[in-house]
């Protein structure tokens, strides 16, 4: 069977044209997990958009719903354990919240690939790398096992693995963390997806390996015109890797915009506090500016701004929830009353 695996088609030109078309569009999504103590409102009205070929970051601390948002987009949360309270999720023009499970199986892996944090749990420990890669490739591409294996070899070569044949013959536990993560990235690119969702892909890796892996991932994404949704808690890393960034807090987006704009001129008090809490900003030995208090309990209803109890600029306005408001030609947007009046 003729299959076009030896020349992954240069989609670059095509994607440049429809880069305005969103590959992922989340609109006012609300989601809760029912528990016997009442619902936990994990996501409270998140809107997010990833255009074709764009690298978008989500940053936030634990519990800010950055992972749950991505899981919902791929519909990976266990059926029946969550309620969508509002909004919609559109992946490549298809409504994933309403799609049939069979259709989702086709979308996942082929149109949208996912890279998880811990590469050892994402790989099957009882099978050699080759078998796992061939299985995924053949699931989504019409080609023979030999062709699939050749493609796997080539993909690993693209990830700067010196001896791909050798690696293919190994079990995951025989490989280092960096090598495993490179295999997963190669696998994510194997079906030429339009979007890759990477959930903390380098948190388990050392900094030197992290940089290599991200360089490879970005080069490959640019080459193929793949969009990446990059979820991380590391602000510095996001600043190096992403074109645009969403800052999340307690299940809402509090600030969004071009990465350097948001991180160099943060508007929202939470983004400011988060950047201020980094040791990089302080003089050695000085006390750091920590954020007082702790994240709100999401099982209790939040009226108004969720950051208000910890915010030093809190006022009576904060009792009602602010919308995202734009600056700099609507690119950089903040959900805070402080900037409501200043907005053009």
């Amino acid at each position: 069977m003729a299959c076009a695996i030896f020349s992954i088609p240069g989609r670059k030109g095509a994607d440049m044209m429809d880069s305005n078309r969103a590959v992922l569009e989340i609109d006012n999504l609300g989601l809760e997990f029912p528990t016997y103590r009442g619902a936990v409102r994990a996501i409270n009205g998140v809107s997010l958009r990833v255009a074709g070929g764009e690298i978008v970051g989500i940053v936030g601390e634990s519990g800010s719903a950055k992972s749950v948002t991505a899981m919902t987009a791929m519909r990976l949360l266990p059926e029946g354990r969550f309620n969508v309270t509002s909004g919609s999720v559109t992946v490549l023009g298809r409504d994933t919240l309403a799609a049939r499970e069979e259709d989702m199986v086709d979308i996942r892996g082929r149109d949208v690939a996912m890279i998880f944090q811990e590469p050892l749990t994402a790989l099957n420990p009882t099978q050699r790398v080759a078998r796992q890669m061939v299985e995924v490739i053949r699931r989504h591409r019409a080609c023979s096992a030999t062709e699939a294996r050749q493609l796997a070899t080539r993909l690993l070569g693209d990830m700067h693995i010196a001896d791909p044949e050798q690696v293919l013959h190994r079990y995951p536990f025989e490989l280092s963390g960096g090598m495993r993560q490179r295999i997963l990235i190669a696998l994510a690119f194997s079906c030429d997806p339009k979007l890759i969702i990477a959930d903390e892909p380098t948190t388990a890796l050392d900094v030197t390996v992290q940089r290599q892996v991200l360089q490879l991932m970005r080069a490959k994404a640019h080459e193929l015109g793949t969009a990446i949704l990059f979820i991380s808690h590391d602000l510095a890393l996001v600043s190096q890797f992403c074109d645009r960034v969403y800052v999340m807090y307690a299940g809402s987006v509090v600030e969004e915009g071009p990465t350097m704009d948001v991180l160099k001129n943060p508007r929202h008090p939470y983004t400011q506090a988060l950047l201020g809490a980094l040791p990089e900003g302080a003089q050695p030995g000085e006390l750091l500016q920590s954020i007082p208090g702790s994240v709100p309990n999401l099982s209790e209803p939040i009226s108004g701004c969720s950051f208000a109890p910890r915010c030093q600029h809190v006022s009576h306005q904060c009792l009602s929830k602010p919308d995202l408001t734009g600056f700099n030609g609507q690119q950089h947007r903040t959900a805070c009353w402080l900037f409501k009046d200043a907005a053009p």
Binding site: T208, Q212, L235, A236, Q240, L275, P279, E280, S290
Partner: protein
């Protein structure tokens, strides 16, 4: 700073036997530490950085006595009380889930001294207040606290036996940024108040930069560079230190900037290279690098680097 060191590590080697043949004899050895020489002065914060597998945690275990060295010795200053405590990385697993918090905090005292419950309770309350917890939370169990609060409990426990030295093994890597700031501030304050000595083990360079007086960079079970934090971070002299510093993400720094090595893996520590340990990955290697390198003094008397080209490279940089 006091000139006579509080703790001196002298040529520490640690090897772990692995594998077994038909009668159970080990078939190979993991070389975890390969000749670590280090001193810790009283009242300083010494940072230890390096990648996974470089021997940071084995070093912590050597200091705490959980592992004894295969070769070499640890010497304390003759007048030292030899009181040392540890704070581990993950407060989830380092606290006993079945003990109320006041028991957790006073366990080091309870195990050594005969003291009544009410006395221990008072002690736990005092320590809790010092680390920013409430006295009336002492009857709760660890799972009722958040990650940051649990790390505070672990710090209170370390303080309970009134130690001179605390080994902090990745104390904030399981915590969020805002909580990390709280814990680092707490550690700074406690040190000021109690005159503690810290050995801070971390892979996070910005935490090390912020906290430490001196810094030791480890690679494959050896210290490759050691010196004052300012010197090492401003003029890294070992190629590995430079690689490590260039790889640390920084706000706005391009991903491609700086030194890089292309996909080469850390060498296995099952059999040690008979050359410079960094040789395979080093972009600056020359013909003299095929010998085992020694730690040699650089610009100042306190800055040591394990690289024969260090001075030359410092000039290049």
């Amino acid at each position: 700073m006091n000139t006579s060191p509080l703790i001196t590590l002298d040529n520490i080697h640690v090897r772990f036997p692995i594998g077994a043949d038909w009668i159970g004899r080990p078939t190979a050895q993991v070389h975890a530490l390969n000749g670590v020489d280090m001193t810790v002065a009283k009242g300083e914060i010494l940072g230890v950085v390096g990648e996974s597998g470089c021997g940071k945690s084995t070093l912590a275990n050597i200091l705490t006595g959980l592992v004894s060295p295969s070769e070499g010795s640890i010497n304390w200053a003759p007048d030292a009380a030899r009181k040392l405590q540890v704070v581990f990385q993950d407060p989830q697993s380092s606290l006993d889930p079945r003990l109320p918090v006041w028991r957790v905090i006073t366990e080091p005292v309870f195990l050594r001294e005969k003291r009544g419950s009410s006395e221990l309770r008072d002690l736990a309350g005092d320590l809790a207040e010092q680390v920013g917890l409430l006295r009336d939370q002492m009857d709760r169990y660890p799972h009722e606290f958040s990650g940051g609060q649990r790390q505070r409990i672990a710090i209170a426990r370390a303080l309970s036996s009134d130690p001179d030295v605390i080994v902090l093994d990745e104390p904030t890597s399981a915590l969020d940024i805002s909580v990390q700031a709280q814990i680092l501030n707490l550690l700074t304050e406690l040190r000021r108040r109690r005159g503690l000595t810290y050995i801070l083990i971390s892979h996070n360079i910005s935490v090390i930069r912020h906290m430490c007086d001196r810094i030791a960079v480890m690679y494959l079970g050896q210290i490759v560079e050691i010196g004052a934090t300012k010197t090492v971070l401003a003029q890294p002299s070992h190629p590995y230190t430079r690689l490590l510093l260039d790889s640390v993400p920084e706000l706005g720094k391009p991903l491609e900037a700086g030194l890089s090595i292309d996909g080469k893996e850390l060498p296995s520590n099952l059999s040690l290279p008979q050359a410079c340990f960094f040789l395979e990955r080093c972009p600056f290697k020359n013909e003299k690098c095929d010998q085992v390198q020694a730690l040699e003094a650089q610009t100042g008397p306190t800055h040591f680097v394990r690289c024969q080209r260090a001075r030359e490279l410092a000039l290049l940089a």
